[in-house]
Symmetry: C2
């Protein structure tokens, strides 16, 4: 068995906690930082500390925010009257980066999954209800993932919005742009066909 | 373009400096740490700080060491009379973990590569010379990688050892265990054939 010196061992153990990092990658990262990029390691330690103290959750949209002013809950965004419900911060960044949508967001930080103990409470759906009841939202766009849990979550939040008389839409699911029908899976194709729109 | 808040942006930038981590992975790591593993992030920052202050290079073998006592330069290892020359700390860990070798090491922290400005000085070959001249080493095992630069380095250090009347050996290169001749590349096969040993 490989044995490392205590500090090195603790560093490798801590790096392994990162998603997608196994023992080999963690060792490679540790040696890289110690051998070639001590300044980078110092910077990483510092930015981690900064992020932990400075980054909190927006009480309204649940996205990460700094200094108590959320960049996704601005008056300009509120004025659009649109609210996009996503599962994770990464989904928010994808929509923000890939589309022209500039309305508000609500980040669930997960999806309904009763078996894992994730219910409406864990997803902050009371906050979403409060947002919907405010009366400033005209349209709620549900952008959860097209998985079983994602669809269940979509159905749940849609019912909430209907209760508050807010128009609900769901992002389209179908053949991806540039994709070829021949290589698209059956589920997606069935979805694309049943979701056909007039030209 | 995706834009992050300042602290988040700095954290993602710092994570991208890790080997094998691109923008997507860095974002994933940052969100994971902030959302699900704040304790892990804190631990990582702490262990990084500890490692940077506590881990230095052994002045004799150039491996990372703590508290000025190198675990690879012990009297017991010196008594074997063997010295294994490797390119990187990861190579040392691989030999230590995969073989029964328990002699001393010398870590070059690179390989001769004049075009990149890496000469004998950068590899600490003066230190290696001092080690060889000490008279305690009976055999030097050269375990640099079988690349062009690795072979050049092997030749260079072998000449040094011969000058100090130390026996020099090179680890065997050939067909890997469990490998099939059919799928082994020509260079390896040629090496295996020319390096054949009596049974």
């Amino acid at each position: 068995m490989n044995t490392y010196s205590p500090r090195l061992s603790r560093l490798i153990e801590a790096l392994r906690k990162l998603p997608g990092v196994g023992p080999k990658s963690a060792q490679r990262m540790a040696f890289h930082l110690l051998d070639r990029d001590r300044a980078g390691a110092d910077k990483l330690a510092q930015t981690l500390g900064e992020a932990l103290t400075g980054i909190t959750r927006c009480p309204t949209c649940r996205m990460f925010c700094e200094d108590a002013s959320c960049r996704y809950c601005t008056p300009a965004r509120t004025a659009t009257g649109q609210l996009c419900v996503v599962e994770t911060p990464a989904d928010l960044m994808a929509i923000e980066g890939g589309t022209a949508y500039r309305g508000r967001y609500f980040v669930l930080m997960g999806r309904l999954s009763p078996l894992d103990g994730i219910g409406p409470e864990q997803l902050g759906l009371a906050q979403l209800q409060a947002l919907l009841d405010e009366g400033q939202i005209q349209e709620m766009i549900v952008a959860t993932n097209p998985t079983v849990e994602g669809e269940a979550t979509a159905y749940f939040v849609a019912e909430m919005a209907k209760g508050a008389s807010v128009k609900v839409t769901r992002i389209a699911h179908g053949v991806p742009m540039g994709g070829e029908l021949e290589y698209v899976d059956g589920g997606t194709l069935a979805h694309a066909l049943s979701g056909r729109t007039p030209v």
